[in-house]
Amino acid sequence: MNRTALIWRVASFAVAAGFIALWQLIANLKLVSPVFLPGPDRAWAALMRGFSSGDLWSKLAGTLEHMAYGWLAASIAGIAIGAIIGSSRTMRTYVAPSLEFLRPLPVSAIIPVAIAMLGLTQAMALFVIAFGAIWPIMLATIHGFAAVEPRLYEVARSLQMSRLAVIFKIALPSASPDILAGMRLSLTVALILSVVCEILAGLDGLGHWVLLSARAFRSADLFAGVILLGVTGYVTSVAMSLAEHRLLAWQASQR
C-alpha cells in the first residue's frame, strides 16, 4: 500500500469513529428517545448477546442462505441466457428491446405476483431474489459476449475448435470481466431482496429479526440486526472483489 492509500484508509476510519462518537453523544444526551435510538454501547451489547445465545447466528445463516441460493441461481441462469443472447446478433436485435422494457420494472412489482403464485414460501423468496439479481448479470454477460474480439473467433475456426471449446476457452474468459462486475452488483440486490422476502414472508433470517425487534420496541436488537446486515453486505462485496482480483490477474498488466 502506498502512502496516499494509507492516509485515505486512516481518514476513512477516523470518519467512521467520528460517526459512532456522534451517535453515542446523541444517545447519551437523549436527543432521541432511547426507545427508538440505542447508543452504540447498547447496540453492541445486543449484538454480543444475540451471538452468545445463538439466535443471531441462525438468523445470519438464514439470510446468507437466501442470498446465496438466489444469487447462484441468478448467476447460472443469467450467464446462460446472457451467453445465448450475446453470442448471436439476431438474438440481440430481437430480444434486446424486450429486455430494455423489462429491466426498469421494479422487482417489488413482481413480489405480489410471486406470492400469489408460490405463496409465502422459500420458493417464492428464491424466485424473487433470483429474478431481481439476474438483470445485472444477464445484461453484463450479453455485453461481454457481444464484445468478444472477432479475430479470436477466426483463430478458433482455423483451429477447428468445437462449439463448446469456443464458449469455454474463448467467449467466457473474454466476457469474464463484465460477468464478474455484473455478479458483484447482483450481490447487493440479492441481499436487499433477501431481507424484503424475510420481512414479507416471515422467513427465518435477519429481515425477520429486524421486523420482530421493531414490533417489540427492542431498539438495541433492531440496531444489532441492521449493523449485521451492513457488515454482511460489506464483507460479501469485499470477498467478491478479492475473487475478481484473483480471477482477472491477467488484466493487471493491461491497466
Partner: protein
C-alpha cells in the same frame, strides 16, 4: 477399383498444387474484391504476395485459409475443395495483439492449438517449451501477451501456428508493425523454420524487398478488383543472407521490376 483410384490420387498428389485458386471471384457487400484469380502454390513453395494497400491481399489469404468462401470459382487444398478452415492451414494474423488470448500466458496460448489438436495433457508442457524455444521465446512461458513486446507477441503467434503442425502457413504482413531490426531477425527465423518443417507458405507483405528476400515466387496484385498483375520467379540461392542476398544482381533486378510495377499501379 478403390485401390486403383487411390493409386491414381497418390500419383496426381505430387502434381497437384497444395493450394489452388481456380478462377476465384469474391464479392463482399455487393462489391467485387477479387476477380477471376487463378493461382497454384506447390507443396513446399514460399510464395509472396505484394500489392498496394486495399488491393485484396488479406482477402486472398482469407480465401486460402477457408475463412471466406468464393462467390465464383473454387479454392482447392490438396486437390479437395476447401469448405471450411482446417488445422493443417495455419494463419498468422497481422494484428497479433488481437489474435492472442490476453487471459492466457504464452504457454497457454500455444497450448490452445495443442488442445484443439487433441494432444494429451501430459505431453503438452514439453511440446510448448520446445515451440517457445523454436521461436526464440524460451523463459517467457509464464508471461501474458500484454507483458510482451510487439515482436515477442508475433513470435508467440507464430509458435501457436507451428503448434498446429501446418502443411500450409499463411502470413498476413506479419512484420508490418515491427521495427527494421526485429523484422530482419524474424525474416531469417521464418526462413529457417519453414526450411525445417517443409511447410508451404503464402506470405503477404507490402515490403517489396521482404517479398524478394523471402520468396521462391512473388506475385503482384492489381487493385479494384484484385487480380494478378505480375509474377516473378526468384532464383536466388538459399539459404538467403541479409547482406549478400540483398546485394545480389538478381535481387536488384527483381526489385527494380517490382518497383516499376507497383509505381504503375499507383498512377
Amino acid at each position: 477399383m478403390a485401390s486403383a483410384a487411390k493409386r491414381l490420387e497418390a500419383v496426381s498428389d505430387t502434381a497437384t498444387p497444395q493450394i489452388a485458386f481456380d478462377g476465384v471471384t469474391l464479392a463482399l457487400g455487393g462489391k467485387t474484391i477479387i476477380e477471376n484469380l487463378s493461382l497454384g502454390v506447390r507443396p513446399g513453395e514460399f510464395l509472396c504476395i505484394v500489392g498496394a494497400s486495399g488491393c485484396g491481399k488479406t482477402t486472398a489469404l482469407r480465401l486460402a485459409a477457408g475463412l471466406y468462401q468464393p462467390t465464383g470459382g473454387r479454392v482447392n487444398f490438396d486437390g479437395q475443395p476447401m469448405r471450411e478452415p482446417r488445422r493443417e492451414i495455419a494463419i498468422v494474423f497481422q494484428d497479433y495483439g488481437k489474435a492472442l488470448l490476453p487471459w492466457r500466458t504464452a504457454a497457454g496460448n500455444v497450448s490452445l492449438a495443442l488442445e484443439a489438436g487433441g494432444m494429451p495433457t501430459a505431453e503438452r508442457p514439453a511440446r510448448i517449451e520446445e515451440l517457445l524455444r523454436t521461436v526464440g521465446l524460451p523463459g517467457h512461458a509464464g508471461k501474458y501477451p500484454s507483458e510482451m513486446s510487439g515482436g515477442m507477441q508475433q513470435r508467440l503467434q507464430i509458435a501457436r501456428c507451428l503448434a498446429q503442425e501446418p502443411k500450409t502457413l499463411l502470413m498476413d504482413e506479419p512484420f508490418g508493425a515491427l521495427d527494421a531490426m526485429t523484422r530482419q531477425g524474424l525474416q531469417d527465423e521464418v526462413l529457417s523454420l519453414v526450411a525445417a518443417s517443409g511447410a508451404t507458405v503464402i506470405f503477404v507483405t507490402h515490403d517489396l524487398d521482404e517479398a524478394i528476400y523471402l520468396g521462391d515466387r512473388v506475385i503482384g496484385l492489381l487493385p479494384h478488383p484484385g487480380r494478378i498483375g505480375i509474377e516473378l520467379s526468384v532464383n536466388l540461392p538459399r539459404p538467403r543472407d541479409q547482406l549478400s542476398t540483398r546485394e545480389h544482381p538478381e535481387f536488384l533486378r527483381l526489385r527494380r521490376q517490382l518497383f516499376d510495377f507497383i509505381k504503375a499501379t499507383e498512377q
